[in-house]
């Protein structure tokens, strides 16, 4: 703990904090009133049924059989394909469900079980997980952001760094609300762990805790691998800092590294303990986690491969193995420079941009990508929001928009529009707070938005004006595509026209953002973070 809270400086703006948080929770519940994915759609239903089925399996079968195909556990029907922590979470919820409503988790008999009370129960499980992990993490990060700001009184206070504003804005991000509460998933858990890990890195600077929490996140959803590289390189680089002059360099490095390694391995062992009875269990688990045979992408994803697929039918030309190798190579090439930059020109401020870049690289180029995976890139962007509101807001809009085909399938059009409008209007109010004389549409003006960050800057830059123009065009395009998807019937020989258009449109945006954030990261200078031991010696 390097930074002790200074009692005199520790002021947190909390005037609108409570109403803001409650309001964002209210929005969540409003979305939750809508149907989930696969609502009344036998035989396979959707993600809701998958979660329920996992509860059923985990409650009624022994641990070692969870990932194996047995008579009781038909892996073809929503087999468990997330790491053990998800399974434990399901077990916990399943036990509660078993107590409250045994029919909902009865083995075999409960397939496709749907009732209002059970729906309410499942929504509550998401809500509680959300409150305990995601909301608290967001709150802590935002409080810390303002606290750090309070220590430097020279800097003018930016509205977006006020705790109440930034927390509410973060929590109102529509993407995760729609996926978790509408579509039904538990992204809030893995992302909550991830946010806690980030919090420990950027605020508390406790590397061990950060690794432990990141391992938790990783063990909840393997998709958290998107974020693994920045964590790895940042923590590795930190092991080199604070080396004593002369002798003992190696022992210092080993000591630092050991601490992290022990944390990682111990956490893994504890979590995987039931499966360590034999290698076949571990291999089966890993095989379930990384299913190579499921193809390069599902449905329409706004990544590069899906775009390429329009012109070259990748699935027919190359085998899955070949494709996987190509993907790995290209992803490494795309993510490599960002990681290298973080490693060699380390700066604590680079950590979040690096997270954005790497996760975007994974999203754009890696194998087996879901449209929901964009959340993994969107949450770091939301973290970065106070630094660069204009671009981040744009990104978050596009990221929500890119999930539109999925949301339409679930019948979530109205919540999509409503939450997006709420988010946009709240953002525009935030801008109005810092510049009371600006209009409600100043969100389209990058110059104005940037004035919040740098109030002393007088001149307007042409680049920003150009960006604002593109932003307006982009928003108009999104609105038109939404209207088109809903009202225009695609020609019969192109049934997937609009989903494809949407993903192509978003993909172009993501590529653009990819380059932009790369530029952002590289333009930050190098600055060594201070290490706790150094200060202790003083």
């Amino acid at each position: 703990m390097t930074r002790r809270a200074d009692p005199d400086k520790f002021t947190v703006t909390k005037q609108a904090l409570l109403p803001g948080i409650l309001f964002s929770l209210l929005v969540r519940w409003c979305v939750a009133a809508y149907p989930y994915s696969g609502y009344k759609k036998p035989p396979m239903h959707g993600d809701f049924e998958a979660q329920r089925h996992w509860q059923e399996i985990t409650v009624h079968t022994p641990v070692l059989k969870w990932y194996h195909n047995t008579t009781q556990n038909d892996l073809q029907y929503w087999g468990l394909d997330y790491p053990p922590l998800t399974a434990y979470h399901s077990l916990l919820m399943g036990l509660v469900a078993d107590w409250l409503e045994p029919e909902s988790v009865r083995l075999f008999a409960s397939r496709g079980y749907e009732s209002d009370s059970h729906k309410t129960f499942m929504r509550w499980t998401v809500f509680l997980s959300d409150i305990y992990l995601y909301v608290t993490a967001v709150l802590c990060i935002c409080i810390d952001a303002e606290r750090v700001l309070g220590k430097e009184p020279k800097e003018p206070k930016c509205v977006l760094k006020r705790t109440d504003i930034s927390t509410t804005l973060f929590l109102l991000y529509p993407g995760i609300i729609l996926i978790d509460y509408g579509h039904f998933q538990y992204n809030c858990v893995s992302l909550g762990f991830f946010l806690w890990a980030t919090f420990f890195i950027i605020a508390i600077k406790n590397d061990t805790l950060a690794t432990i929490f990141f391992v938790f996140a990783l063990n909840y959803k393997q998709m958290e691998l998107y974020h693994a590289l920045p964590f790895f390189f940042y923590l590795l680089r930190k092991c080199f800092i604070g080396m004593p002059l002369g002798r003992g360099k190696l022992s210092h490095f080993i000591r630092c590294f050991n601490k992290l390694a022990v944390a990682v391995i111990a956490t893994f062992v504890i979590i995987w303990y039931p499966f360590l009875k034999g290698w076949e269990h571990v291999f089966q688990l890993v095989h379930r986690l990384f299913p190579l045979d499921r193809g390069i992408f599902e449905d329409k994803v706004s990544n590069v491969w899906c775009m390429v697929n329009v012109f070259i039918k990748l699935k027919t030309i190359y085998s899955n193995q070949e494709m996987a190798k190509t993907c790995l190579l290209i992803t490494a090439m795309a993510a490599g420079p960002a990681c290298a930059d973080l490693f060699f020109r380390i700066n604590i401020k680079k950590f979040v941009p690096c997270l954005i870049n790497v996760s975007l690289a994974f999203f754009l180029f890696s194998f087996q990508v879901h449209e929901k995976s964009i959340l993994l890139a969107a949450i770091p962007v939301a973290l970065y929001f106070p630094e660069d509101p204009f671009m981040c807001f744009w990104f978050l809009l596009v990221s929500t928009f890119s999930m539109l085909p999925l949301l339409l399938k679930d019948g979530l059009l109205l919540p999509f529009i409503a939450t997006t409008v709420i988010y946009t209007s709240f953002y525009s109010i935030c801008l109005k707070l810092s510049q009371p004389n600006s209009g409600y549409f100043s969100i389209f003006n990058a110059n104005r938005v940037n004035k919040i960050l740098y109030p002393n800057k007088k001149d307007t830059s042409h680049v920003l004006t150009f960006l604002s123009l593109i932003f307006v065009i982009s928003v108009v395009g999104m609105v038109l595509l939404t209207v088109g998807t809903v009202f225009v019937k695609p020609p019969p020989h192109l049934p997937h026209l609009f989903p494809l258009l949407i993903s192509a449109y978003s993909c172009v945006h993501f590529l653009f953002f990819f380059f932009y954030f790369y530029y952002q990261q590289f333009s930050l200078p190098m600055s060594l973070p201070c290490v706790s031991q150094k200060q202790k010696r003083k």
Binding site: G20, A418, I422, I429
Partner: protein, 554 residues
């Protein structure tokens, strides 16, 4: 109004605080504005009987000729609102045609297509703009914290729940009421009277407020001279011309409304005032009769246990769900005339006070609002839970115009009124939404209203009071905690103990009795405050803008 202390030290710091506060309000205001508009959209699958009621009215007004509107009884939900509302439905039915023409078939009972729902929800949202406009207008009169008032009125949870979840057009109606009040504040009595008459012809439930209007308009408009001492009535200044103008306005509106139905007025009246319905609605309104019934019920049970009474079983079904006549077992039964007499008796002191108060020009506005609040909800025949909102609106409206002294009661009412309606609104699967609407609103109120009244705290200078909510007395805080306990009991414990099979209506009964205690307490506080209300006790009555305005005029 902020206290004088806050004004007294008009330092730069203070200015900064104010600016900062305004900004904060700006944020939340807009937020709630959106939330008001968009919340119903996120509300897909719940609609009550009122939904079918309004659909049926659309069909009636669209298909039948004028003279049959009030006779049709294809559906059990016959048209029982005054004519202007029927006209409104008539106009809306032409828009509805483009959404789904099938909803306009008379015999198409309980028709619920997606487009119908969408249309109905949208109609509420669109008509709500009237409310937004009025609130904006009204909050403009308040000097400090105008945004706070705006937010609080916009986010009024009762209205949100009833209009957008339960489905009614209260927002629109209250919008007209507030518009009328805003004209009273501006001293445009004729316009105010006009709009109030229109409102009465939209929904006759607003007759509750009518006595206040009558007394106020008569005293403030028909007497041209306002006395200074407030007690003496200058009878010589009675202006017949003004009375005539007033009467003409009101009669004109009523003529416009009832004129086309001139031959059917008895039928309309019998529809508007169905005295055959019982004293208590199935969802008990938290009014005096809830307690009365409860006491009766308890006495009855005790009586039968002790063998003092013999009661046929058929009678003991008051809470059975239907709106019916019911005879009390022990206590004397209540007839409509008795309720009316009681209502009038309780009103009279307030009205007399109002008569004297509104003599003084500066205090007219305030007294009007107060008067409106000392309403007649408590004793009214067939009061439903929703009607309590007649007062709720006013409540939020004036904490800021009131002096410091009134603030405790004000806030208490504000919160308890809102808290108490939650349990009364079913179904259960929407519990969480309602809960968070309410929490958001209460958090806004508790956090922000206080800052208006209390000067900035000195660090560590204040004693920490255990378990006491801000700005409330001990007993009031306790009451609110009790409400939470009750809420938990209703929603969880009652079911867990398995009592929901044997005593299905117990939670409802308990909540309404508990809430009615709260309402009566608050009502008594108000009444007391209003009756002892003295010009000299409240230093800053007028809001800033109004004060300036009166300076100019006088």
């Amino acid at each position: 109004m902020p206290s004088e202390k806050e004004w007294g030290c008009a330092t730069c710091k203070n200015m900064f605080i104010r600016v900062d506060r305004d900004r904060r309000y700006a944020s939340t205001s807009e937020q709630n504005f959106r939330f008001k508009l968009l919340e119903p959209k996120a509300e897909p699958d719940v609609h009550s009987t009122d939904f079918e009621v309004h659909r049926n009215w659309l069909a009636i007004t669209h298909n039948l000729t004028l003279d049959k509107w009030y006779y049709d009884n294809t559906s059990e939900w016959t048209l029982d609102y005054p004519p202007f509302f029927a006209w409104l439905e008539f106009v809306m039915s032409f828009v509805a045609k483009y959404f789904d023409p099938q909803m306009l078939y008379l015999t198409n009972l309980n028709y619920k297509s997606d487009m119908t729902i969408l249309f109905q929800r949208l109609s509420v949202i669109v008509l709500d703009f009237v409310y937004i406009y009025s609130v904006k207008r009204l909050s403009g009169f308040i000097g400090d914290g105008k945004l706070l008032v705006f937010i609080l009125l916009m986010s009024c949870p009762g209205l949100l729940m009833i209009d957008h979840i339960h489905f009614q057009y209260n927002g629109f109606l209250f919008g007209i009421l507030l518009y009328s009040i805003s004209h009273i504040i501006e001293n445009n009595c004729l316009i105010a009277a006009f709009w109030f008459a229109v409102l009465l012809n939209l929904k006759h439930i607003f007759l509750y407020v009518a006595p206040v209007y009558i007394v106020y308009l008569f005293r403030a408009y028909c007497f041209t001279i306002s006395s200074v001492d407030g007690v003496h009535t200058p009878w010589y200044s009675f202006s017949l011309a003004n009375l005539f103008k007033l009467a003409f306005t009101v009669i004109f509106v009523f003529g416009l409304s009832f004129g086309p139905f001139i031959h059917h007025i008895p039928q309309i009246l019998s529809r508007l005032f169905p005295f055959k319905r019982g004293l208590c609605h199935a969802y008990w309104a938290p009014n005096f009769w809830a307690i009365y019934n409860f006491v009766d019920k308890v006495l009855q049970n005790i009586g039968t246990k002790l063998g003092l009474l013999r009661i046929p079983k058929a009678e003991a079904s008051m809470t059975g769900g239907l709106v019916q006549q019911y005879d009390h077992a022990v206590l004397p039964s209540i007839t409509p005339t008795m309720t009316i007499v009681l209502t009038v008796v309780t009103m009279i002191p307030a009205l007399i006070k109002l008569w004297h108060l509104c003599a003084d020009r500066r205090y007219r506005v305030l007294s009007f609002v107060y008067g409106g609040l000392c309403g007649m909800f408590l004793f009214v025949w067939l009061a439903r839970s929703r009607e309590s909102y007649t007062h709720d609106i006013g409540t939020v409206d004036f904490p800021l115009s009131a002096g410091r002294r009134g603030r405790q009661t004000v806030l208490n009412t504000n919160n308890s009124r809102e808290l108490l309606t939650v349990p009364l609104l079913y179904p259960k699967n929407l519990f969480s939404i309602k809960f968070f609407i309410l929490l958001t609103h209460v958090a806004l109120a508790f956090v922000n209203i206080r800052t208006l009244y209390e000067p900035a705290k000195v660090k560590g200078g204040r004693r920490i009071r255990v378990l006491r909510l801000p700005m409330l007395r001990q007993i009031e805080s306790l009451y609110l905690y009790g409400l939470i306990v009750l809420c938990v009991y209703d929603n969880a414990i009652h079911g867990l103990w398995g009592l929901d099979k044997t005593l299905p209506f117990l939670p409802l009964m308990l909540t309404s009795v508990y809430c009615s205690i709260g309402v009566i307490y608050v009502w008594l506080c108000y009444y007391y405050y209003f009756l002892t209300f003295n010009v000299s006790q409240v230093p800053t009555l007028c809001t800033v803008n109004l004060a300036e305005k009166y300076k100019k005029t006088s």
